[in-house]
């Protein structure tokens, strides 16, 4: 009791602790609250939340590379693709039509780990030849890698069905599952449970568990010997080397560990969507994840998570809903003429807003970065850095 009170007092003013508490409680309450608020028709929103979890995982992973180790990675979606395709090939009928003529059906839980290790391996593979580069040069190489990987999967037709992608992926199964009113059902135990698309709560719970495990792991890493080595390399690579930090290994580990989360995320994404296609992993995905990390607060785990949740909800909830909202608003204030398209070029408010979507998205990003350049929930460090001006980057080019 006393320890609990002391714990509370110590963390009551710690923004990270508050963020974790809010996100934790929010995550637990979300499905039930949403179902209740929508009279049991909240499945779509719960499913959307589960999808946003994929981006939270990706942001956590990219934050390791960019935030902790200071390696600008513009091709992070490549690892996401590798994780997804790994699951796609190992858990579907896909490989029947491949040169090995044999379908592989590895259970989701094992494939999840395989996806993780394959993505980590790809991270190390990319890292090995490129980590002599620093700063902008590294960014360009990762950019290239991010472009190559989806094209590679598209062209490996014999294995990946090319542009059509891999479909009908296996879903995870469990021996039993507890259902209840939060999932819009009677309380009870379901045996031989299969994760299906019309039960988004199960997917939601799964992604929350994956995120929780990831957060614990990354937090431990952050406070470990390796976490300090990452920061040392970010601050001054030469000095870190002189202090006995093997900078090459340290950076390789940052790439590999960062990539492993996208392997996680990729397997989950593939299983939930039941489709993996090369179009899902373009440059825009890499940039979106990077924006999430920067917007949330680089180098701070809960910051990156909040950034991911916020950007995802703007991109996939508020912006798609905006045209209908605008039209309803026009109607309710008695300005129905706004909803009519007119011959002089006015397309009607809903179409107008629809066309403005990406301008609005851009303006929101610019606005947030102007108002809070350090990110929504910055690490203590980044906040200071920006207040005092970024230190010199003169060491960037010296190899």
């Amino acid at each position: 009791m006393i320890r609990a009170r002391q714990f509370l007092r110590e963390n009551a003013r710690n923004p990270n602790a508050i963020a974790y508490a809010v996100m934790g409680v929010g995550a637990l309450a979300f499905p039930a609250v949403i179902q209740f608020a929508n009279n049991g028709n909240g499945d779509y929103l719960v499913s959307l939340a589960a999808d946003s979890g994929v981006y939270v995982l990706l942001a956590i992973g990219l934050n390791v590379v960019v935030g902790f180790a200071g390696l600008l990675d513009l091709g992070y979606a490549a690892f996401f693709a590798i994780g997804s395709y790994t699951y796609g090939m190992l858990a579907s009928e896909q490989l029947i039509s491949s040169p090995i003529h044999h379908a592989v059906h590895i259970p989701f839980w094992i494939a999840l780990l395989i996806g993780m290790f394959v993505a980590a391996g790809a991270g190390a593979l990319l890292g090995a030849p490129t980590l002599r580069l620093r700063g902008d040069y590294l960014a360009i190489v990762t950019l290239g890698f991010g472009e190559i990987v989806p094209v590679f999967f598209r062209n490996m037709r014999a294995w990946t069905s090319g542009v059509n992608g891999i479909s009908a992926l296996d879903v995870p199964t469990l021996p039993f599952w507890i259902t209840g009113p939060w999932a819009n059902a009677q309380l009870g135990i379901e045996h031989n449970f299969r994760f299906v698309s019309f039960n988004p709560t199960a997917w939601y719970v799964l992604v929350v568990i994956l995120i929780s495990l990831s957060v614990i792991g990354v937090n431990n890493l952050y406070r470990s010997r390796l976490g300090r080595a990452w920061m040392a390399v970010r601050e001054d690579e030469t000095a870190a080397a002189a202090m006995g930090v093997n900078t090459v290994n340290t950076k390789l580990l940052a790439f590999a560990i960062g990539a492993s989360f996208s392997g996680f995320a990729g397997a989950f994404y593939g299983a939930k969507l039941s489709l993996v296609s090369p179009d899902s992993f373009g440059f825009i995905v890499s940039i979106t994840i990077l924006s999430m990390v920067v917007l949330g607060g680089m180098g701070n785990i809960p910051g990156a998570m909040i950034g991911a949740l916020l950007l995802y909800s703007i991109l996939y909830y508020f912006l798609p809903a905006a045209p209908a909202q605008a039209s309803a608003l026009a109607h309710s204030v008695g300005m129905d003429w706004l909803n009519q398209s007119s011959p002089n070029g006015w397309p009607g408010i809903s179409e107008f807003i629809h066309r403005l979507q990406f301008i609005m998205f851009g303006l929101i990003l610019v606005g947030i970065m102007l108002l809070r350049p350090q990110g929504l929930l910055p690490s203590r460090l980044r906040a200071q850095e920006l207040k005092r001006g970024v230190h010199d980057e003169s060491a960037v080019v010296t190899a």
């Binding site: 406070r223 010997r225 040392a232 001054d236 080397a241 002189a242 202090m243 930090v245």
Partner: protein
Amino acid sequence: MSAQVEPPILSLQGVIKRFGGLTAVDQVSFDVPKGQVFALIGPNGAGKTTLFNCITGMHIPTAGRVVFENRDIAGTKPYRTAQLGIARTFQNIRLFEYMSALDNVKVGEHVRMKAKLWDAIFRTPFARREEREVSERAMEYLRFVGIERHADNYARNLAYGQQRRLEIARALATEPHLLLLDEPAAGFTPQEKVELMALVDKIISRGITVFLIEHDMKVVMEVSQRIVVLDHGEKIAEGPPTEVRNNPRVIEAYLGKSA
């Protein structure tokens, strides 16, 4: 002073470093005896820091041998030389600016830590215990150089003199046998120089050999037992302070030829 029966801790044998057509270090040979303060002096651009870089592996010598504890380490990677027991500070302070003073020292201890990736991810009891020990030891190093009050401050927020001390603490945390100090007294007040000399004495009494580059003749003469003088990359003199001070070539290098 103990008789020199022990082999030198560091021995340079005909070290050459060329950058393109420029010869920064030319055929330099000398021995650094164990357990003493050894100084390297010379006018600006004489190649002193280049020589340090050759010893710590930041440069690969074009030719010659760098023998540290009976092992040729020329061309070894910097992190390996740190593991072997050579630590250094930098002429223009290179701390991890946005890490606390304590964390800076902990990075120095990195090389002596044993926690593996597995331990780090799962925060095993071993990792916890090691982290605790490392924190305690890091505090001791801060106390040793006298800046323990600033343990939680960012390195960049420390005063100049404290930053120099922190760099020494960080270097000591790697548990070196040989400590290279690159102009440790640069920009110091006379009072700070006296304190620095006391600190060097304390380091020596821990059994660590100190090899320093310094411009301040008063500091060099007082603190070091043996001096090597470099000019235009060449060794022009070597010996105890009194001898070097009166060497005509040294005077010429510093003050120019008398007309």
